[in-house]
């Protein structure tokens, strides 16, 4: 079992990490969304963490946008480097909380972030086996890349 202090990688918004070693990918999600992909055949996993739903065509198409982050994560895992097959991949989706309350309600970024994850994954044909999205509490995630387990904790206001 990987050690949280020595074998973990923290993902900031706009990061994508795929790892075939025993690692824990950690992140904290508010309105952001993280998609965890796991290949049980190869026992490797990858995760992204995006802030906004769609790239609007301006500036660089970075993985801080959901459509780009999901596409890049799938491409990376199915590339010759990792060699995963679409049919083997399993997805788990987390995040998209409305933690800003009414202030972000107008833009509905959190809900749009969640929608893009489900829509983009549906197009790729990757099975979504679990998810915990929405609500109004931030989430803390630990994704074990060798087992595909995701430990999640809702961050409650003290």
């Amino acid at each position: 079992v990987p050690n949280l202090k020595t074998d973990s990688i923290f993902l900031y918004g706009g990061n994508i990490v795929v790892n075939c070693e025993k690692k824990i990918l950690r992140t904290v999600l508010g309105s952001c969304v993280a998609v965890c992909l796991y290949d049980p055949e190869k026992a490797l996993g990858g995760m992204n963490h995006y802030l906004l739903p769609l790239w609007n065509g301006e500036g660089l198409p970075t993985p801080k946008f959901g459509n780009i982050a999901i596409e890049q994560l799938v491409e990376l895992m199915t590339s010759s480097r990792y060699g995963c097959r679409h049919c083997d991949l399993q997805a788990k989706i987390f995040g998209g909380a409305s933690i800003m309350g009414d202030r972000s309600a107008g833009h509905n970024v959190s809900q749009r972030n969640v929608n893009i994850a489900f829509n983009a994954l549906a197009k790729t044909g990757i099975e979504i086996i679990n998810s915990d999205v929405g609500g109004n509490q931030a989430r803390q995630l630990h994704f074990y890349t060798h087992s595909g387990d995701v430990y999640m904790k809702r961050v409650t206001k003290g």
């Binding site: 949280l4 900031y12 904290v28 788990k92 630990h142 387990d149 430990y151 904790k153 206001k157 003290g158």
Partner: protein, 304 residues
Amino acid sequence: MITEHSGATDITSNPVEKTREQLQTEMQVMEQKLVMMNARLIESEQSKSVFLAKVRNEINNPLTTLLFFAQELSQYESDDPKQVRQMGSTIYRDMFILNLQLQNIIVSSELESGVLELSPRNVNVRNLMQECISGMEILSRGSKKLNVTLQIDQELCDTPFFVTDPDKLKSILDNMIANAIEYTPKKGTITVESWRSAEQLFIKVRDQGSGIFSGDQNRLFDRFRQVNKLPSGSHKGHGLGLSLIKGVTEFLGGVVLVDTVMGKGTTFTVNIPEYISEYDKEHQRLKNGTNFTDDELSDDMELF
């Protein structure tokens, strides 16, 4: 479902009617938004045309000087090194001005179109300021023989690192100094001061110009609008510098203050907050208001 009261249909409780009304309201709101958007687009298009016409002038003027001196130099028959050096120096100065103006035009158009990107790094502010001042020597030392002094607060000297976008900060500084050079009379002094307070960086540039009329202060930061501060009106400025200082400072989350005394000079003070990433903000907020810990795997974590 339709509810009937004394034979009459109550429309308000009809879900279809309700949805229709709701959709109509939404459509009206969308329509209003479209009208507003259209007005903004027309306005933007007009200002873009003005901008382009001005830009053409800004580039043409220094280019004419450059062409003239380059041609002179290529046909120059005397081997007097002093004169050659003088021509070279003029070409360099004009190239420097042209470069500054082109940078300003690029940053301004990026600011205008909202595509300016923030690239924060840990910046050594002391070194950056020294670099800016020595880079400007071609303008300050030249024929004006100005004295530019730099005063950096002890705290900032000891801890000169500040998280911000170095290119944007340099752009602000270059323009503040260029503006002061423009308006300070020959052999005058320009004072650049800098200090930090908590997570704020302050930069103050004081010139010895003639000051700004109070009536002109409101339009000081307007793009391509020059306030005629010199009695002769003979300044070479490009009318973009101050609007850029304001725009870029605000882009970094800061403010610009102006303090002017007629006949004595003008002081521009820029105040920029240290950059904190969205993630750090969220992290900090969670830490402050919650029982959040990310140090160890908690027992209360749910498995998915």
